[in-house]
Symmetry: C2
Subunit: 222 residues, 2 copies
């Protein structure tokens, strides 16, 4: 399988939401459950996608849109395990937008996908301002980044449906208070679901998998 | 000491470089050595500044411009140890620009500063496109982010004068190849100086301090 690379520029925010609505309609027509995954660089977006593919790929047809400033390192990892993937290089842009995702969707066979991951560019700020057509907005916070991140990047924490707290295997070596983190996050976002996990050890993944199973079941019924 | 908060919007890139030149001239007139510190969220910008203040503040008059999307958490830490600091909140913007820094400089007494740290917004992408008037561009990569970051965010690695590789205390618990990291970084940027350090344990800081001493000496002679 060859990886398709789509290189696109930045579009104007004003028209983004309308395009996101069109993407959503198109994805809904194919009953595709779509998750927009956002985080800082290196927090574990690709690791979460790979772990989730490993758990679900026997029963669920999965596709991936990979967004990056440059390179196709992550897309190659997904491609290597036989999952359809399209790489979007933003050419310097610090976030995906709905137009880029539209181009990505044009390079996937939507008839053969039930669950779509969109891996956003690693950035805690601008990706939050661009809806892509997703059902769910998921962000990953990485423990080594510190428990004060929700104070400093409140927008994404406030607007995400799911917060994954990754790299919990490093907790013994960090000054990270999960209690304090949870307090600030739920203060910003009372409805959020938080899953502390370690993609490295697999710890905590069951909670996330159960949540996703239920979400996929609900989507099918729609 | 009260912390000054300047809230500013985004400016157009086209005029940024001219304003950065003006800032640089103004800082040069006061013989201020200025370092623009960039990194992902939570990589250790404030920790590096605090450790460097601790080492140099007896001999060198230091000032800090703190850039954040929201909050003044970091400025409070700097203020607590008696160093002049001005907080710039970008109001959603994902980087500092030269106009914001100009406003920041207007709130510091430049007569009483020899070394100025500008802590940029936590983001590996856009801060690289905006010169601020600095002498030196320093970026921090955090080991837990992974050794593949130079592939994925090549711009900042290519354009930085100094790369600090922080959180080396976590190396025993990570799959991070320093050799591979160095190879890619020096491939992008043959003139770069790399300092592997741990702000937590203090390991490796001496190399950085020696480099900075020499840089301050050169600046005085200009």
């Amino acid at each position: 399988m060859t990886i398709k690379v789509v290189t696109v520029g930045e579009k104007i925010l004003g028209t983004n939401d309308a395009k996101a609505g069109e993407n959503r309609k198109r994805l809904d027509e194919h009953s595709i459950f779509t998750i927009n995954i956002m985080s800082s660089p290196g927090a574990g977006k690709t690791s979460l996608i790979l772990a989730t593919i490993k758990r679900f790929s026997k029963d669920v047809r999965i596709g991936v849109v990979e967004g990056d400033v440059a390179s196709s390192v992550d897309a190659e990892k997904v491609n290597a395990i036989g999952i359809p993937v399209v790489q979007i290089n933003t050419g310097g842009g610090c976030h995906l937008d709905a137009f880029m995702v539209e181009k990505g969707l044009g390079n996937l066979n939507l008839e053969e996908i039930d669950l779509l991951f969109i891996e956003n560019v690693g950035n805690l700020i601008c990706p939050n301002n661009y809806r892509l057509g997703e059902d769910v907005r998921l962000m990953i916070a990485s423990m080594p980044e510190g428990d004060d991140k929700p104070y400093k990047y409140p927008g994404m924490f406030a607007d995400s449906d799911v917060v994954i707290l990754n790299k919990t295997d490093l907790q013994p070596y960090l000054d990270f208070s999960e209690k304090s983190f949870r307090k600030v996050v739920t203060g910003l976002n009372p409805d959020v679901v938080i899953f502390p996990i370690s993609c490295k050890t697999g710890s905590g993944l069951t909670g996330w998998f159960t949540w996703l199973e239920e979400a996929l079941r609900k989507k099918k019924k729609q």
